[in-house]
Symmetry: none
DNA sequence: GTGGTCTAGACCACT
DNA sequence: GTGGTCTAGACCACT
């Protein structure tokens, strides 16, 4: 994972998004512990406070539960719930893109073509890594 | 246009995006004047300084030219250039959506389905307004 | 003459500089009339008020005298005086350049070389026009 | 450094010029931090916003990088680049001086003499400070 | 009227 | 503490 410090999305939300996606992807499974604040902070080169806020965000979403002195655990039904939330986030990005295209009066065909192109490029990219 | 004061995107960039799209859409044509700082500020209920930052951004992109004491003008080749920039922005949204979907291990079919659904919903919305 | 609307020097001062140089150069001679406000404003594509301010500046410097209902005249000893002032302005530009070079710790040789180069380029330019 | 509030050059550009020269001179070296917005604002007795505009300008020139909550840093290749930009600025001053001299029909010898004289005076000045 | 610059002071995200 | 954004309001040059 890479943090983008120039993004307008606050870093703590970028981290929360990342963990949420990891839970959705099954990287972290229910009842497993998540990386500690300090571990993750070191890895991402951010302040532990920032990671802390990300975890707070996830607790608010009931994806994560903290047990004092023990650590942070993935909640029971978290995977399901995280998948739903991630999917909503994906949709939100698409909606923004389509709206921006409509506002600029790009033709529907053009907008779909832009999507296809992005799709192909990202697919090609993913293939290469394999 | 509506400003979202809670967005992570700064207001001045929201305004710049909006004007860029309007130029791309042909709402403002080359050599025409754009709304004055004060007029637009009143309309959007923001401070004139904030509108000015938006226009500065567009001037840096060579979409707009300012003439002291006269007003702001759409630059010569602005429409073309604005369209290219708006399309790049659309693509960026789509890329973010696709990446987020891949990170959450949504299946390619799922991701495409999310796009189709968003597309249909926004289209239906647009129809209704007609 | 060309006005540079993007210069930080106000337009009225650019105009005053231009007329002062013209008087120093002998383009306008003592007792001759200067172009009228409207004529010059049309030629430079600026507002007559702006030309007016330039003339006021020159009157303050006693290079120009206005006679109501008649026009503006070059003052008696104007050429001499304008030459002195123009020379002071030239010097001021050079001082700024040298100071900026020293601040950036360019070597004295480097600074002189920059001057020589600018000199040659402007000379070549002047030759070509001949 | 001294700000000239009566100059036609906006304060924020005076500050940007000053910092650029300091980077060119090696006063601030790559990866080092620059004075914070508030510190420099206090020192120069200007508003922090004004200092920020200066730093924005330098960031646009890729001489400076900002990290939220951390500080401002001199960019990697900044010294080289700053030196080139400062030299261009020096040249610009000289060009203006030469052009003004030509416009006033000062003889080439006269113009060069003015440069020599300014050079000697500034050198003498520099010596005295030693 | 128009755009450009500046101050004073606030609040936010991040260290 | 740090940088980034925003408001309210002033004054300037120019039309």
């Amino acid at each position: 994972m890479r943090i983008d410090p120039n993004s307008h999305v606050p870093i703590y939300l970028q981290i929360a998004d990342y963990i949420r996606e990891a839970i959705a992807a099954g990287v972290y499974r229910p009842k497993e512990t998540l990386p500690s604040l300090r571990t993750l902070a070191l890895e991402l080169v951010v302040n532990p406070n920032t990671v802390q806020r990300a975890y707070e965000e996830l607790e608010r979403e009931h994806l994560v539960r903290s047990r004092k002195g023990v650590g942070l655990f993935v909640a029971g039904e978290a995977a399901e719930s995280a998948r739903a939330k991630s999917q909503a986030a994906v949709r939100e990005h698409f909606v923004r893109g389509i709206r921006a295209g409509q506002a600029a009066r790009l033709s529907p065909e053009r907008i779909r073509a832009v999507f296809q192109e992005a799709w192909r490029d990202l697919h090609a990219e993913a293939e290469q890594r394999t």
